[in-house]
């Protein structure tokens, strides 16, 4: 399977990855220049958080080998795809219980901000041929995709 490898030492916290993620998953058409960064509907699936010393840590979905989110899903919405290794999410099946949010040991998941009916979850940019936009947008090479 392919995974986004994180080298946090290279991250300078610019959040280009988060903006790219919001742009990739926005509902309306448009370019990154008219992306509404303040709209609660535009949410990033990845997070850059600061450690106590002010340095940055990219928090990205691992599409885990033994995914705790899948092991908490009571609706069948979250699945580990045997072929691609990705953890996929079907929002139509989701029962909005958010046990996956509770169970992700790295705190990557969250309920959507506007309706609280679905989970904000990395889909490896399946709509763009499975090449994650966050990786393409990182100017520091702090994240890259690797076959693992």
């Amino acid at each position: 399977m392919r995974r986004i490898i994180v080298e946090y030492e290279k991250c300078d916290g610019c959040k280009n990855c988060s903006v790219a993620c919001m742009q990739a998953h926005r509902k309306s058409a448009g370019t990154v220049y008219d992306l509404d960064l303040t709209s609660p509907e535009n949410e990033s699936r990845n997070f850059i958080y600061q450690a106590g010393d002010g340095t940055y840590r990219p928090i990205f979905c691992r599409h885990c080998d033994e995914p705790e989110c899948v092991m908490s899903c009571m609706s069948g919405a979250l699945k580990k795809d045997a072929a691609s290794g990705l953890v996929t999410y079907d929002e139509k099946r989701c029962g909005s219980c958010f046990m996956c949010v509770m169970n992700c040991p790295f705190g990557v998941l969250k309920p959507d901000r506007t309706t609280r009916t679905k989970v904000i979850k990395c889909d490896f940019c399946a709509q763009d041929g499975g090449e994650p936009n966050c990786v393409k947008s990182c100017p520091k090479g702090a994240i890259h995709v690797e076959e693992v």
């Binding site: 995974r3 986004i4 490898i5 994180v6 946090y8 997070f47 958080y49 600061q50 450690a51 106590g52 010393d53 940055y56 840590r57 928090i59 691992r62 885990c64 080998d65 033994e66 705790e68 092991m71 908490s72 899903c73 009571m74 609706s75 069948g76 699945k79 029962g95 909005s96 219980c97 958010f98 046990m99 949010v101 509770m102 169970n103 992700c104 040991p105 790295f106 705190g107 990557v108 998941l109 969250k110 309920p111 309706t115 609280r116 009916t117 690797e146 693992v148």
Partner: protein, 412 residues
């Protein structure tokens, strides 16, 4: 190898899938009382008519065919562990090499008045319960729910969405008493009341007498009040379904006794899920089912493949009614000497109970974004001091580590 699984809930289905992964050629038979696989966590959405019975299925389409699992819809009446056979209500006998008991639990109807014999009193546990409730609700106006735990509120939610007049009676002084403190519970109570549900807290049903039609039309509370009702949903707890084990030699008291490999006291018989009485939490049932399956297949532990049920932490819940989400983990009541931290604004409520730098319990309401770290912090008793941050600002960034193949690991 013949694997027989009794029960098609979270533990049973997870086990079947796992067995198929390890043993492509083994025979798998699942005995389920309901033909339709369903997630009991979504029964409220069936009652509210947001989902059909088919939409409660948590398996993918064609799950049984794809995994070559023979599904038998029948009730198990006994288990003969000497001859290694399961006896069904239809008199059929199914031989097994390995048996998994994942029969879950049943609603408990308290022996108050005629609650146990009336025909308009239901538990809410299975799809069949929800279907009976749904049918009778067609002609019911006033519905009484006994118990304001998660199941009771599920019933109340679903039925008020159908326009019914719902009254909930709860013994504790607040709703969701096992999950929430007063502040957190009041927020939900207000939402339910706004939707038209009324509550009678800190009181219990003292008497309920059947009419000539074998139905209860009103109940008396210990407060002296009489509440009229057309039907009653009882959500007063569950007990593991172990009745059919009598004489099998499989040790069970409150639930079936198992070790960390999910083995029962009888060789080649395993148990997983609510029937063990270990927890009533879906993720724990799945994990137990998975570990049982691995041991049934004789899998040896290796890096990345556990065979023991070690992640036993079960004081965990998420709640989502009317778009208000809550996460509750660990201890709910502070003890003498505990530190309590609270953060609150118009939209959120956060409360943590700490002792000696370790979090004993946490409650997050309104916003549970990225909150998965808290379960890890609590169950692994991680000292949260010395990170240069306030408690509720902590994220995985403060414990960030990476391992082989780009995995994240906790650095504590």
């Amino acid at each position: 190898m013949m694997h027989v699984i009794i029960g098609g809930g979270a533990a049973g289905i997870t086990a079947a899938r796992e067995i198929r992964g390890w043993q492509p050629d083994a025979q798998i038979v699942m005995i389920c009382s309901d033909e339709q696989v369903h997630s009991r966590c979504m029964l409220h959405k069936y009652l509210s008519h947001e989902r059909t019975a088919e939409e409660l299925d948590f398996t993918e389409k064609g799950f049984f065919e794809k995994n070559q699992i023979v599904q038998i819809c029948d009730r198990v009446v006994s288990v003969d562990t000497a001859d290694k056979e399961v006896c069904l209500a239809s008199d059929r006998k199914i031989a097994y090499d390995r048996l998994l008991i994942a029969t879950g639990a049943e609603s408990v109807i308290p022996p108050v008045g005629d609650l146990r014999k009336a025909e308009n009193v239901f538990g809410l546990r299975h799809l069949s319960d929800a279907q009976k409730i749904d049918k009778m609700a067609e002609d019911a106006e006033e519905i009484l729910v006994i118990g304001a735990g998660l199941v009771g509120l599920d019933a109340a939610y679903g039925l008020q969405e159908r326009g019914k007049k719902v009254t909930v009676v709860e013994m504790a002084p607040r709703i969701l008493p096992v999950q929430l403190d007063e502040h957190g519970a009041t927020a939900y109570q207000e939402l339910f009341e706004r939707a038209g549900v009324s509550f009678r807290l800190w009181c219990s049903v003292q008497n309920a007498v059947c009419g000539a039609d074998n139905r209860i039309h009103s109940v008396e509370l210990d407060s002296g009040e009489t509440i009229s009702c057309d039907m009653i949903v009882v959500a007063a707890g569950v007990r593991p379904s172990v009745g059919f084990l009598e004489g099998s030699g499989i040790k069970a008291e409150r639930g079936i006794e198992v070790n960390s490999r999910m083995e029962t006291s009888v060789k080649d018989v395993y148990a997983a899920g609510d029937v063990t009485g270990l927890s009533g939490i879906w993720p724990n049932a799945m994990k137990q089912g998975k570990m049982a399956a691995r041991n049934m297949c004789g899998v040896k532990p290796m890096p990345g493949v556990d065979t023991e049920y070690a992640d036993t932490f079960a004081d965990k819940n998420t709640i989502n009614f009317f778009g208000l989400v809550t996460l509750c983990l660990g201890a709910l009541q502070p003890e003498e000497g505990d530190e309590v931290q609270v953060q609150e604004d118009m939209h959120i409520y956060r409360r943590a109970i700490l002792r000696d730098g370790k979090v004993r319990g946490i409650l997050l309401q309104g916003d549970i974004s990225n909150s998965g770290i808290w379960q890890y912090i609590i169950k692994n008793q991680i000292d949260v001091r010395g990170k240069g941050k306030k408690l509720f600002q902590l994220t995985f960034a403060d414990y960030f580590g990476t391992g082989e193949r780009g995995k994240y690991v906790w650095n504590v």
